[in-house]
């Protein structure tokens, strides 16, 4: 399988990306005015207490030295210690990875599950009422602020109808899934519109394509033409779009995590930024970066699997 050789070589290219991100995050968070020591000490801060905290976390060291320690830690698989939570950053992050990951994955699954049939209906009725309806709804759907939409869904499904939990994450698998429905639906309502538009366009194109004509010319009924030829050929461009969007999503779940009280990394990140918990910000940024890179990597693999012509 020589086409999959990039699976072995590609990870090497990740290193400079991750390194670049570590440098930028490091500099960026330290450019932010504000002092973590003061944040955790609050109004009762006294100079000795401040100095103590700064010394404990090495914040009194010169910047380059701090970065050096950061890299050194990283090489040992450590990410330092949270100033706010007083524990190891990696340990802290590990407790928060699951909800975010679950949210992203469930949203993607839901979005795709919505987008494919909807795009199918629209493209197969291209230019007719269902198509126009889908296009208009999806064009409108893009504009809703997610935090507003999320709240509306809670009011409707949880408070009025009582079918899904209002917020939180739950402990058993079933419980977690129930908790994920509304937040993923909120994301899916906007993500699926983006996917639908792209898929619809690709499908309309593919339905008119020579491939479809050729299949019809050998007497294939429309359903086979569609599901065996049009769909596989329309997926490839959408995979890329999906990857880009998932990349955005990974770092952008914070608003929904907050609305739905999901104990994920987005919330952790925002609180860490607001309290200048440098190590946590760096750690989360690294995890997000790695996740994004991983998503793109997976997208590449899927693309290669879905389209035998692609070589990477």
């Amino acid at each position: 399988m020589h086409r999959y050789k990039f699976v072995l070589t590609r990870p090497l290219q990740f290193l400079p990306v991750i390194f670049g991100i570590s440098v930028i995050t490091f500099i960026l968070v330290r450019l932010i005015p504000g002092d973590p020591a003061r944040v955790i000490l609050g109004a009762r801060a006294t100079p000795t207490a401040l100095a103590n905290v700064r010394a404990q976390y090495g914040l009194d060291q010169p910047l380059w030295l701090q970065y050096f320690y950061f890299l050194k830690n990283l090489a040992n698989g450590e990410m330092g210690r949270s100033i706010l939570y007083k524990i190891d950053v990696l340990q802290l992050i590990l407790t928060r990875i699951e909800p975010t990951t679950a949210l992203v994955i469930s949203s993607v699954i839901l979005s795709v599950a919505i987008a494919i049939p909807v795009a199918a209906i629209a493209s197969r009725n291209s230019g007719r009422a269902p198509d126009h309806a889908v296009r208009i709804i999806s064009t409108f759907g893009i504009g809703f602020p997610p935090f507003w939409l999320g709240l509306m869904l809670i009011i409707l499904f949880s408070v009025q109808l009582g079918v899904f939990p209002v917020s939180g994450y739950g402990s058993s698998i079933g419980d977690k899934l129930a908790h994920l429905v509304l937040p993923s639906l909120t994301i899916a309502l906007s993500l699926s519109t983006v996917l639908t538009r792209s898929l619809r366009a690709a499908m309309v194109e593919a339905l008119k394509s020579d491939v479809a004509t050729a299949a019809r010319a050998r007497g294939m009924p429309e359903s086979i033409v569609f599901w065996r030829h049009v769909v596989p050929n329309s997926l490839v461009p959408t995979i890329n779009l999906l990857a880009v969007n998932v990349g955005w999503l990974i770092g952008g779940t914070v608003v929904l995590e907050s609305i739905f009280a999901l104990p994920g990394m987005g919330q952790l990140l925002v609180r860490a930024i607001f309290s200048r918990d440098y190590m946590v910000v760096q750690g989360v940024a690294m995890v997000f970066a790695c996740a994004t890179v991983l998503v793109n990597f997976i997208a590449d693999i899927v693309t290669v699997a879905a389209d035998p012509r692609v070589k990477l």
Binding site: E205, P237, F288, A289
Partner: protein, 283 residues
Amino acid sequence: MSVQAIEPSPFSWRRFFGKRLALAIGGGILLFFLLLAIGAPLIAPYDPILQNADVRLQSPCLLHPFGTDNFGRDILSRVIWGTRIDLQIAVIGVLFPFLIGTAVGTIAGFFGGAVDALFMRLVDIILAFPFLVLMLSIIAILGPGLGSFYIAMALVGWVSYARLIRAQMLTLKNADYAIAAVSLGFSRFRIMFRHLLPNAVAGSIVFSMSDATLVLLSGAAVSYLGLGVQPPLAEWGVMVAEGQSFITTAWWITLFPGLSIVCLAFGFSMLGDGLAELLGVHE
């Protein structure tokens, strides 16, 4: 070549607009908002920041068609004045990324090689960089407000344009007319910007329309985190975010600015669709 009779067909609106329908709707909506923005001082019935303790949380009525907020400010007037800021957000939030991305994409795509590799690594980094960290950091460094928001958008947003343009340039630079231009002894600058760029840019223009929606929504998300425009300015995202506390008691505070975002986004999307058809761009 082929000689065929063309019979005139009866007039129909459908045919008149034809493919331009989306363009017309989108353009119409944007024009409407633009007029609102320009005419805000004339159209808005009240001062958007004037508080009136007597009419706090007034539901929509004749005097206040969109109701009032918890300070007794007129929502309609705030929505109308908000148009100015939100249009500006959409336009500036897209314009700078567009310009930067186009320049970078053109150069990277045209020259290829080391320049390209360098830029593309940068693109990789920015794509993998958590947007929120950047956005919040920039806002924290420069203070909340539109300036920081634009800078953050520009720092991140150019990547999409650069990628689009670069991909176009990579194919276009091998197009026969590009090679023809080289063989005619045209300068690189001329080839890049006069011959290739105009042909490469259509996709980006179409994308910029959906990008405008993304920018609006990013602005709203930033407002949700409390880092939107400085009060007491009226901006839709901030209005929706602030009105959240009243969502069960005074729905009108969030509904109208929320709908305005949706409508503006709809306008941009339609315009994007229209442009795509006009410029022959496939998503």
